[in-house]
Amino acid sequence: MIVAVTVGSATGLHAREAARVAAVAASCPTPVWVRRDGGAPVPADSVLSLLTLAAPQGTELLLESASSSSLELVAQAIGAS
């Protein structure tokens, strides 16, 4: 399943934010993938992969996972301001 989420942090998905999101994703039992619309999906539990998205506040990202609970956790982490 896929959900859309908007980057909430005022400074975007920078180093600290990416580390926070990756830690949440790593704690999920099911892998979660993140991509920009039209972009290639990257694993949400990889700080480096998240940083490649270069996503400032307000960027819409698409999350995909086989688990709705994992999706929700990662979506919350990315959407948090």
């Binding site: 180093a15 700080v47 480096l48 940083l51």
Partner: protein, 150 residues
């Protein structure tokens, strides 16, 4: 939205022959360079040390990205990066760092450069090239989002 490398990475802020006995000294050197180029107020240094104490800025592939804690943004005069290369390596939170990309920013203008850096580190061949480069111009070109090879 995002600035190119020209706006954030001053050629004077690329140092390729640094040495530091430990992570603390390396972060001090990063702060030295950011101060030298007029990028930050003096208070940014303790903010960088505090950030490193709270959580290592080690990114992987021999690279760390020292920067200040939340709340230190007001101490940034001009969004800037600095690249310090420690050829002998610096012990870092159980690993070893060869390159520090120090970050001092108020906004999100560095995200494109950070993305380029992350892309390099995900590619072992390009990561090795970044670690071994002794040419400031080449390092600058590698980190330039406009010139990035994907």
């Amino acid at each position: 939205m995002t600035a190119g490398i020209g706006a954030v990475l001053d050629p004077r802020a690329i140092r390729t022959t640094e040495s530091a006995v430990d992570r603390l000294v390396a972060v001090h050197r990063c702060a030295d360079v950011l101060e030298e180029i007029g990028a930050v107020e003096r208070g940014y240094r303790p903010a960088m040390l505090e950030r490193e104490r709270l959580m290592s800025t080690w990114l992987g592939e021999g690279v760390a990205i020292p920067h200040g804690v939340d709340g230190s943004r007001a101490l940034v005069r001009r969004d800037s990066l600095a690249v310090l290369r420690f050829p002998a390596g610096v012990p870092w939170d159980g690993g070893r760092v060869i390159v520090c990309v120090a970050i001092a920013v108020r906004g999100d203008g560095h995200l494109a450069v950070l993305s380029t850096l992350a892309g390099i580190l995900l590619d072992p061949r390009r990561a090795a090239a970044l670690r071994s480069s002794t040419d400031p111009a080449a390092i600058r070109a590698m980190l330039d989002p406009a010139e990035a090879v994907t």
